[in-house]
């Protein structure tokens, strides 16, 4: 039976890893490097189209009866069997044979162990522009299992109806009577031609990022303590994209190149910092391989695989944050939301492209809390020889539609280095302005390669 849907964990990592950015402006000639580690919750969840949160295994749950059969969730063949059986029900009958069919149920268990390490580098091209690049290394492992349970009355119904029903229906009931976890798995792997669903793993890079950031100080605009940051970045689709022949894989990257612009407006006073964030991402169209549903089944067979043209929808993000701390320790709370507008697919193979598109429209709301320790001030005062920022972040997606519930913790460390260009710049700057220090590093700020809005 064709019942499985693509695992919802497809979105789980992509949001976090697709766009590492660098939210910091470095002085000219100063470089920064960042190392990070992110660990996702193995008890992963997803939000369905109605916003309900479920365990990943719930997505695999199929009742081979009533609603799931009539809706097609239990597969094309059972939907057809239900529909045909319904025609033998009398009009007005409260419950006919079709609704008496009960072939048991299937439940799934799935765990995803996803970890990411990332390396980022930034460099102050000028005192106003900082370029940055980053690349994540991802280790993902998915283990899935399906269990069949319940009673199966297919043969009893077949016997009861006798030759009153068509041979195809009798054959269908025979097949239904043999439903089991193994038969389902066989259908997926042999008939449909998917890779074994029990286990999938990936070790490789995610999407690579290249971008630049600039900041405009409010001082120059006549508003003290105000900072307006602008970031532009390009995501290269170097990460593992959705494989149409693998059901349980996780797209590590977006699957398409994308251009993003983001801005943040911050205001700080007496240790309190608050601001708003906004971003817009536009993907670049590309041709990809997909299994195009024919409108009758949820899990398309190998014969439905075709090259389709993919026009990604935009990503729109926004958020608020509030931070408090001093030059050594600082805590930040962020709440935000992201929406991915519907993708569009087209291709020469006739099929239900709308169904493909419908599930691409997603949204999620998240919050995260972070704590960072910075030695920048101490380094400036020559109290410590290595400038670094150590940050710990916990992230949770508390609401969403058609999206994964991303929950992770992240640890990162950022350090800095100087180049001759920095020295030259510093000497010029020092002679003109500040001769108290001889170490040029950025001011303490949110410094993060990993979690843009």
């Amino acid at each position: 039976m064709k019942f499985l849907q693509k695992l919802p964990i497809v979105l789980m990592v992509s949001l976090g890893l697709a766009g590492p950015s660098f939210a910091q402006l470095l002085p000219k000639g100063v470089g920064a490097y960042q190392l990070g580690y992110r660990k996702f919750d193995t008890n992963a969840q997803y939000f369905d189209q109605d916003g309900g949160a479920h365990g990943i295994g719930d997505k695999l749950k199929v009742e081979f009866s009533g609603t799931d059969m009539s809706s097609g969730k239990a597969g094309k063949d059972l939907k057809k069997l239900y529909r045909e059986m319904k025609k033998f029900d009398s009009q007005g009958a409260t419950k006919g044979v079709a609704d008496e069919m009960n072939f048991g149920q299937l439940e799934g268990e799935a765990t995803a162990d996803v970890q990411a390490k990332f390396i980022g580098m930034a460099y102050g091209l000028t005192n106003r522009i900082t370029g940055f690049a980053g690349i994540p290394f991802v280790s993902a492992r998915v283990d899935a299992k399906i269990n069949y349970s319940g009673t199966n009355n297919a043969l009893a119904i077949k016997s009861r109806l006798g030759n009153m029903i068509y041979k195809e229906m009798q054959d269908g009931l025979d097949v239904a009577s043999r439903l089991s976890a193994d038969s389902v798995r066989e259908n997926i792997e042999v008939t449909k031609g998917y890779a074994p669903i029990d286990h999938w793993e990936y070790n490789g890079v995610g999407d690579t990022v290249l971008g630049a950031r600039t900041e405009i100080s409010g001082d120059s605009l006549g508003v003290k303590r105000l900072h307006l940051g602008l970031t532009g970045q390009f995501d290269f689709a170097t990460g593992h994209a959705d494989d149409p022949d693998i059901l349980t894989d996780i797209p590590i990257g977006r699957g398409y190149h994308a251009l993003s612009v983001a801005s943040d407006l911050k205001i700080a006073s007496h240790g309190v910092e608050t601001g708003i964030l906004g971003s817009l991402t536009q993907g670049i169209n590309r041709d990809v391989s997909r299994r195009v549903p024919d409108g009758t089944e949820l899990l398309s067979g190998r014969d439905r695989k075709a090259t389709v043209h993919w026009s990604p929808g935009q990503d729109i993000g926004g958020g608020l944050y509030l931070g408090y701390g001093d030059s050594l320790i600082k805590g930040v709370y962020t709440v935000g939301a992201q929406k991915h507008l519907q993708d569009h697919y087209s291709g020469s193979l006739e099929g239900d492209y709308q169904a493909m598109e419908k599930i691409t429209e997603s949204s999620r709301a998240y919050h995260q809390i972070g704590l960072s320790v910075s030695t920048l001030d101490a380094y400036t005062k020559k109290a410590i020889s290595i400038p670094f920022i150590l940050a710990l972040t916990a992230h949770d997606t508390f609401a969403g539609v058609n999206s994964a519930r991303a929950r992770f913790v992240e640890l990162s460390i950022t350090s800095f280095f100087s180049t001759p260009a920095a020295a030259a710049s510093r000497s010029t700057t020092a002679s003109n302005t500040d001769k108290k220090t001889d170490r040029s590093i950025p001011k303490r700020n949110s410094l993060d390669f990993s979690a843009g809005v």
Binding site: S90, Q91, A93, R160, L161, G162, M164
Partner: protein
């Protein structure tokens, strides 16, 4: 007299009456005629309350004769009523006078003595004709010849012989009303069911009228002659020069087709019969009519309804079953005797209608895309009504039954091979029909009752229709579909109707009463219904005793 005797001795050929004559007369033209209005009062029979086995019909001038004929077909009940109707058919004038019946006409025209007579000068010829071959003499000789053939067949299986009956005729196409010049094919189809539905001739049961089986055999001959005439078949099975009142699925129902040649007909050809036919001919002596006069038919197209066609198909299936030696104890004796009433070649005659049935079902009566069974062919797409669906299911089931296990049928290997897949092929339209009956004409719980609705508009089927549903669906369930689900529906339907049926007294129309009887008899065939029937009879008293089969 010698000439006439010789002539009518030749009527012995009537044994192979239908298929083995050569005919010279060309088919009459098939002009349509719009002025044909043939209002016919149909005989109706009402029940006098004496119980179904002693049912003595009171024929009136109005009512639904077709319903009565169908109710009696295969009933194995009401023999008095069936015999009365068959007798009426036997003695009444038909639309096509017997001298126009190809087999009789051919016998007359090929008689050598009569040929000499016809070559005499007209004055002498007329004198001798009125002496040697008067109309009454010819009629008498026809009767004698036919009686001889019937007696040969009846005697061959040890049955009673034809008694000294009052005059009977072999005119074709019974007149159902007062109009003696036109007939409606649908009326004939209902009569064919009555004739072919009687099993006692073929299985050795008691004669319908308590006298002999001659009446049934005569009517069987008549039906066979009618089918051959409609198809325009000659004795060799090739198209001949007489008759030809059939239509073809390929050309629709506007014009009649050329005589049907089953040996050369393309696969997609499909014979069927429908419409109203009006005959005209010049009045003359019997000899002149047989030798010189050509009958002219005017065909008026009518709606080709599935109900009428299903009745026709059903009658053919019943005939095919009757003619099978392995299914009918007396078939071999009746068909096998030399110079008897029917020949062994007759066994294939009902197959005439089978290709047309297949073509009509596939191309005209079933919208395969929407799987809708249609009420009419060649017209607007309207869903078939409940009675139509039930009759269609019955017809298909009879064909499935008649064409099953052909190895012992006595048919040639070639024919057997051709018919091999018929039962299975017909299973799908049968299942679709049952599905349509159940889903579109619903069995709905109504309080404590399960009622059969004729549609989704809340109209409950009348008792006759409900009884037909019980009988036909019960038969399907017992003989092929083997469905507990269907059985449960049939039982429920019967349970909700039985009390009111049992309480019925005189005044119920005959078709309804007979159908109720048959429904009860069908239920009584279920082993697990025996106790139920007993309880019902105890509860209802003697009024339910008329439901035979319940013990």
């Amino acid at each position: 007299m010698h000439c006439g005797k010789h002539l009518f001795q030749s009527l012995a050929i009537l044994a192979v009456v239908v298929l083995f004559c050569s005919c010279a007369m060309k088919k009459s033209n098939n002009d349509t005629h719009r002025d044909l209005a043939a209002p016919r009062a149909t005989p109706a029979v009402s029940w006098n309350g004496d119980g179904v086995d002693n049912f003595a019909p009171q024929i009136s001038s109005s009512g639904d004769a077709q319903s009565l004929l169908m109710a009696l077909s295969g009933c194995d009940c009401a023999p008095t009523a069936a015999a009365a109707l068959l007798t009426a058919s036997a003695v009444k004038r038909g639309i096509l006078p017997q001298v126009f019946v190809p087999q009789i006409r051919e016998t007359i025209t090929s008689d050598s003595k009569l040929q000499i007579l016809l070559k005499l000068p007209s004055g002498l010829q007329n004198t001798l004709k009125s002496w040697l071959a008067s109309d009454s003499k010819i009629a008498s000789e026809i009767r004698t010849g036919i009686s001889g053939k019937l007696n040969k067949s009846l005697g061959n299986f040890g049955g009673t012989t034809l008694s000294n009956r009052s005059a009977f005729r072999l005119d074709l196409f019974s007149a159902f009303g007062t109009d003696q010049s036109s007939f409606k094919m649908a009326d004939q189809a209902a009569r064919w069911n009555l004739v072919m539905g009687g099993r006692n001739l073929w299985t050795g049961g008691a004669p319908l009228d308590g006298v002999d089986h001659g009446l049934q055999l005569l009517e069987t001959m008549r039906v066979a002659a009618e089918w051959a005439y409609i198809a325009g078949l000659s004795g060799s099975g090739k198209p001949g020069g007489f008759g030809g009142l059939a239509l073809d699925v390929r050309t629709g129902n506007k014009n009649l087709v050329a005589p049907y040649d089953p040996t050369t007909a393309p696969k997609e050809a499909g014979l069927f019969a429908s419409g109203v036919f009006t005959i005209s001919y010049a009045n003359a002596s019997a000899v002149d009519m047989a030798t010189k006069i050509k009958e002219k038919w005017v065909y008026q197209a009518d709606e080709v309804t599935l109900l009428d066609q299903a009745r026709l198909w059903r009658s053919a299936a019943l005939a095919f079953r009757n003619f099978r030696g392995d299914l009918s104890k007396n078939a071999s004796a009746i068909l096998g005797v030399k110079d008897g009433a029917l020949s062994s070649a007759m066994q294939q005659l009902p197959l005439l209608w089978l290709p047309g049935m297949g073509q009509l079902l596939e191309k005209k009566f079933i919208n395969i895309g929407s799987r809708l069974i249609l009420k009419t062919a060649f017209g607007a797409e309207a869903p078939a009504d409940l009675e139509t669906l039930l009759t269609m299911a019955d017809a298909i089931q009879e064909w499935r039954s008649a064409t099953s296990n052909l190895a012992t049928s006595g048919l040639s290997p070639a024919v057997t091979e051709k018919l091999k897949g018929v039962p299975q092929k017909l299973l799908v339209p049968l299942q679709l029909t049952v599905q349509s009956i159940i889903s579109k004409h619903t069995f709905v719980q109504d309080g404590n009752d399960v009622k059969l609705f004729v549609g989704s508009n809340g109209q409950v089927a009348d008792p006759r229709l409900s009884a037909i549903a019980i009988r036909i669906l019960g038969n399907l369930e017992q003989n092929g579909l083997n469905s507990e689900e269907l059985k449960a529906k049939v039982f429920s339907l019967f349970a909700s109707h039985a009390p009111s049926w049992a309480a019925q007294q005189a005044g119920v129309d005959a078709p309804t009463m007979i159908e109720e009887y048959r429904a009860a008899a069908m239920i009584a065939k279920y082993q697990d219904a025996q106790e139920w029937m007993r309880l019902l009879r105890d509860k209802m008293g003697a009024s339910v005793a008329r439901w035979g089969g319940a013990s």
